[in-house]
């Protein structure tokens, strides 16, 4: 009886309410950015959407401060981002073009919105042939503000602060599979993933090399044309012949397999961990990023909870023994929250491990959450505004 009551008892709060509010205050002020004219058009619905996002982001940050947990609250934001991005994006496409498919005329005129996923593919052709192999414009135009220069600049700024944490706080695709991975209580295929984890996490690197080499050879963004699972929920080349029909089948199969079915079965982010070449590219920036997660060997009892909880298999027995995560760690905080011995800790490079882990977490979260509010917040506000438009209020 005593053990049952202790199991049901709420864990003590990590931090008091007053102190949590104080720590949240800078983030609340920063999130008012959502009201600035560059983020909003002058319409009532937009302001309602922005206000909802401010409350949402500030509330989640407060809960991170109050509970000391990161993963649970970040996941709520990230799943919302993943599901609201297609809502706003598809609604905008349908309103403008009447279809989700990209007309040839738009590709020819260079009006396709740039997607950061293409970044690794365009480097070699740009370096050797001074050609950008994407049907978008380099500078923003009236019809396409999401130009190549703007998107790459934004991505680079965010990457310098976040490193691979981009994949957990900024990417508007990963949230969909994280949502499906959160649904089941039981994880299946666990043995398969444990057995072949080392090989599975190399697949994104192979796809990255393949995409970069073939894109340079045929002067086309191969990932966009053939391999992107998220084409199924964003925009795609119009189906006009057998080739585009095959492309469409590939997009849908990859989306259903990697973003819906496998995350549901395994409770892992299978597309991010075992497929996404941009994620592999992003891993390189973990080398220069200041923040990381370390395992304090003095406290670690080798229970393997951190390894099991990691959504992208970024921990192995060897890496735990060395007190490190692998290069593909996206700093979601799942292992830190799962560790019952407080052995998995946030760490600022150049300082002793576990010296001041909460300070490292705060420093990381202030930068990352501020950028997540700026970048993801505008996406969320757009999605909320779109949903409000569907309500029969007027």
């Amino acid at each position: 009886m005593a053990s049952r009551s202790s199991a049901l008892a709420r864990p003590p709060a990590f931090r008091g309410v007053g102190r949590s509010i104080l720590l949240t205050l800078p983030m609340a002020l920063w999130s008012l950015l959502m009201f600035t004219p560059s983020f909003q058009h002058a319409s009532g619905d937009h302001y309602i959407g922005a206000a909802a996002v401010i409350l949402f982001m500030t509330g989640l940050f407060f809960l991170m401060m109050r509970t000391g947990e990161t993963y649970r609250w970040r996941r709520i934001f990230f799943v919302a981002l993943g599901f609201l991005f297609p809502v706003g994006f598809i609604a905008a496409l349908v309103a403008e073009r009447g279809t989700m498919s990209i007309p040839i005329s738009r590709m020819v005129s260079g009006d396709t919105p740039f997607c950061f996923m293409v970044t690794p593919s365009i480097i070699l052709p740009a370096a050797f042939a001074r050609t950008v192999i994407f049907p978008g414009s380099i500078l923003p135009t009236a019809s396409n503000p999401h130009s190549i220069a703007i998107m790459i600049g934004l991505w680079f700024a965010l990457t310098l602060v976040m490193g691979k944490a981009w994949c957990s706080y900024a990417c508007f695709f990963g949230g969909i599979e994280e949502g499906f991975a959160a649904l089941p209580k039981r994880r299946r295929l666990h043995r398969f993933i444990t057995r072949f984890g080392a090989q599975l996490r190399l697949i994104p690197w192979a796809i990255l090399v393949f995409v970069v080499l073939v894109s340079a050879a045929i002067f086309e963004p191969v990932y966009c044309m053939w391999l992107c699972p998220f084409k199924a929920v964003t925009e795609f080349p119009a189906v006009r012949n057998v080739e585009t029909a095959i492309q469409m089948v590939v997009f849908i199969a990859l989306f259903v397999g990697l973003v819906v079915v496998l995350p549901y079965l395994t409770k892992k982010r299978t597309q991010c961990g075992f497929f996404c070449p941009f994620g592999a590219f992003q891993s390189l920036f973990n080398k220069i990023n200041l923040f990381e997660i370390r395992i304090n060997r003095e406290k670690c009892v080798d229970c393997g909870l951190c390894q099991t909880s990691c959504p992208t298999v970024a921990l192995s027995k060897d890496s735990i023994r060395e007190g490190k995560t692998l290069l593909n760690c996206m700093k979601c905080g799942a292992c830190v929250d799962a560790c019952k011995k407080d052995a998995a800790v946030w760490h600022l490079k150049g300082t002793p491990v576990a010296a001041k882990p909460e300070r490292a977490r705060l420093l990381f979260l202030y930068g990352t959450w501020a950028l997540a509010t700026m970048f993801g917040g505008s996406v969320l506000a757009n999605g909320v505004h779109t949903l409000i438009g569907f309500l029969p209020l007027k």
């Binding site: 050797f128 042939a129 190399l202 690197w205 090399v209 080499l213 340079a216 050879a217």
Partner: protein, 213 residues
């Protein structure tokens, strides 16, 4: 000059074949130099065979290069299918012999295991890339077909080869890259993906030629 000028395009076209092949080789500049030499020698042989063929066709049908030698032709489709096969056998290291060895010893084939270095791999891949039709190659082919003598066509293609070969030397730097099992595994995975790509592309071309002429 044509070879030097169009070298980056040749590099981009042959890069997908050379990079995984070099990465599955053991670390070291000497071994890489040997493999690159064999690859380039076989590529030169492919160039010269192609030069003979286009000159003979060009002399038989003056001022016209038949469609069989231009882009998306039967030849291109067949070469790409063969390239897919060669990549699977040599770069990915999947051969019947390995399976037999694995079966008799009762072990699984280890993906990251270093492959047996085979000269035939570099020769096969080099020859097939040598007759693979890429834009600069077609330009050179048109010029060779218009020359008066076969020896002139061969010399022209030899010079073209020498110009493009210079661009391949940076691939030797892959020899310095440390060979961990992870790198070898990734290189093999890339080879399989490329084989799928070439296979799909080649079969598409062959089907297109069969049904649409």
């Amino acid at each position: 000059m044509l070879g030097l000028a169009t070298g980056p395009v040749c590099l981009a076209t042959c890069g997908p074949v050379v990079v995984p092949w070099m990465l599955v080789q053991p670390q070291g500049l000497r071994g890489h130099s040997r493999q690159l030499f064999l690859f380039l020698a076989a590529r030169l042989a492919g160039y010269l065979v192609f030069a003979c063929a286009v000159w003979l066709v060009g002399s038989a049908i003056p001022h016209a290069l038949p469609q069989a030698w231009t882009g998306r032709s039967w030849l291109m489709g067949a070469v790409q299918v063969l390239l897919a096969g060669a990549l699977v056998v040599y770069a990915a290291g999947w051969s019947h012999r390995r399976c037999v060895v694995a079966k008799t010893t009762g072990n699984l084939v280890q993906i990251g295991e270093a492959p047996v270095v085979k000269r035939s791999g570099a020769l096969a891949l080099g020859f097939l890339t040598g007759i693979n039709l890429c834009p600069p190659f077609l330009v050179a082919g048109v010029r060779a077909a218009q020359l008066a003598h076969l020896s002139a066509a061969l010399w022209f293609f030899f010079c073209f080869f020498a110009g493009t070969a210079v661009w391949f030397f940076p691939f030797l730097s892959l020899g310095f890259l440390k060979r961990t099992p992870a790198i070898v595994t990734v290189a093999r995975m890339v080879a399989v993906l490329l084989a799928c790509w070439y296979g799909f592309s080649g079969i598409s071309i062959l089907i297109e030629r069969t049904f649409h002429g």
